[in-house]
């Protein structure tokens, strides 16, 4: 994770996120999202919008304990047993976890947040239950190795900036510049327990998604209109959606070649996301990414999202950005001092 911006909006976002964590529901009580739909006994009918579409509306959190990639020791084991999961959940509540659970900002050693200041109590942390050993699905459970051309592409980009990191704003990471926050990038990977919220609203023919981080909003057509011209390249690509049964399928292309979009990928990145409501309180979010210039095969992940209370606070990153000017001013002062020393 790149350095954070310590703006007041960030602090505010942090407070909100931690308060959310503080809600009194313990690990393991949310419906298990490891299957496509609840099976045992009771019949659950997915809610519908007034115009008859599956209703995904509300505010959702993707806070999770499940690490993105599978811990090495687990091999091809994709799921914990009920007993193993119960033991893991119990260890998490005591703060005793290794690679098996990513508790992110809830770690005592995470300096970003003084947990006691926010009244945070790990024993009351609320996360969707997930018996997966990693968010990445499949036997590998890890990001596939990058193709040589992708390694070279990313290395070339880094080499170009080397030695110039403090020359000007254009040499700073997009995240610092509030142009594209790391965890704002698509697909939506859970950040380390802040900015986990997503608000969905649906109108006829459109689904609007407000991602808490950097107030990133996608207004996705579901009326069959095609992607925009390939000549138009955008930081977050172009998303079009369609309904498949109870699932909203969102197809995103038109990413730029200016940045290593998602995990080192290039402008050929093709993302397919699937949103399926499996209970009153849960949406299963699945994605598959492919990019023939980056990976030899498509890969993807599955992330449960829990219904939660709002509101989503405004995330005004650029407006509160004092980081770029502070860093550059610091570099200029250091150069000035060095020049004076040489002159003496």
């Amino acid at each position: 994770m790149s350095p954070r911006l310590f703006s007041s909006t960030h602090a505010l976002a942090a407070v909100v996120a931690v308060l959310l964590l503080g809600q009194a529901l313990v690990v393991g009580q949310a419906p298990s999202p490891t299957t496509k739909a609840p099976t045992a006994g009771k019949v659950w009918t997915p809610p519908r919008t007034p115009d008859g579409k599956p209703d995904l509306q509300g505010i959702w959190s993707n806070g999770t304990l499940t690490p993105f990639e599978r811990p090495k020791g687990l091999g091809t084991k994709e799921f914990y047993t009920d007993q193993e999961f119960a033991e893991l959940a119990s260890r998490v509540r005591k703060g005793d976890v290794g690679e098996e659970a990513d508790i992110g900002a809830a770690r005592e050693q995470t300096l970003r947040y003084d947990l006691s200041l926010y009244g945070f109590d790990l024993t009351k942390a609320r996360f969707a239950s997930n018996k997966r050993t990693s968010l990445i699905v499949g036997p590998d459970g890890v990001v596939p190795p990058m193709l040589p051309e992708a390694i070279k592409r990313n290395a070339d980009r880094a080499a170009k900036n080397k030695g110039h990191e403090f020359d000007g704003y254009e040499n700073r990471p997009l995240q610092e510049r509030c142009i594209l926050m790391g965890q704002e990038r698509l697909p939506m990977i859970p950040p380390v327990n802040d900015n986990n919220l997503l608000q969905i609203a649906q109108g006829p023919g459109w689904v609007s998604m407000l991602h808490e981080i950097n107030h990133h909003t996608r207004v996705i057509p579901t009326d069959g209109r095609p992607h925009i011209s390939q000549n138009i390249r955008q930081w977050q690509g172009d998303s079009v959606g369609r309904w498949e049964g109870n699932t909203l399928v969102v197809d995103t292309t038109n990413f730029t070649g200016l940045t290593a979009n998602f995990r080192g990928s290039g402008e050929k990145l093709h993302l397919v996301e699937r949103f399926t409501r499996v209970g009153d309180e849960t949406i299963i979010y699945q994605f598959t990414v492919e990019d023939p210039t980056t990976w030899a095969k498509p890969w993807g992940a599955e992330i449960p999202m829990m219904k939660t209370q709002g509101p989503i606070y405004e995330f005004a990153c650029h407006e509160g950005n004092t980081m770029i000017s502070t860093i550059l001013r610091g570099a200029r002062v250091a150069e000035e001092e060095a020049a004076q020393k040489t002159a003496k």
Binding site: Y169, G203, W206, S208, V219, R332, E335
Partner: protein
Amino acid sequence: MRNWFSDSIIARVAVVGVLSLTATSALGQAPAYRAPRTADGKPDLNGIWQALNSANWDLQGHAAATGPVPLLGAVFAKPPGLGVTEGDEIPYLPAAAAKKRENQANWVKLDPEVKCYLPGVPRATYLPYPFQIVQSPNVIMISYEYAGAVRVVNMGTPTKAPAESWMGWSNGHWEGDTLAVDVTSQNEATWLDRAGNFHSDALHVVERYTPLSADTLNYEALIEDPKVFSRPWKISMPLYRRVEKNARLLEFRCAEFAEEVLYGQLRKKPGN
């Protein structure tokens, strides 16, 4: 909370009375148009909309003028406009009028739009970019192409802002075919146009979106701010639907276009 709520209702009722009187007289007769309904029976305002005027240059009537960058010639000259302010007068208190003139004189340096800051309400509506209304029974999400700004209008029981923000806190309700939105808790950093018209953190805006035809809305904003204005005042303008077949909002993440203005002077100098 209760006091705040009932006060705002009383204010709103008063405002509504005044506005409906003026709307009727302005149009000469009661509008006959009835908007199509959504599946849950509400007027359907869904769509991509845009103002087609020069209100963002100046809310008051203005003649064309040289633009701020002489090198750009006619390309970025200030276009003329009839004005969108009722009576064409903005009722500044004396000290505020002086500040407005100062803002105008230092426009390029001071206007938050130059810096790509979130625009606030009502300016978001008449910036020269489209915005999109996505209407559901409980919330109406309004997304703006400019800076990716967004508002979530709460259509349930009115709630109070948890904190001040750039885009404010919006509670909406229906009055016949009109969507009325009460906007509070905006910070004082946004402006109303490029002419230096401004407000304080006491700004209270009541917006009214009224369908006029399948592809036009009337937009009104009643603006009150006792720290800056001697009385509430009103702007109004039509909004037009973007009817292109493949219309949608594109990215205008303008932070990157404002960096030279904000940070360019801190770039490493050649030789250092």
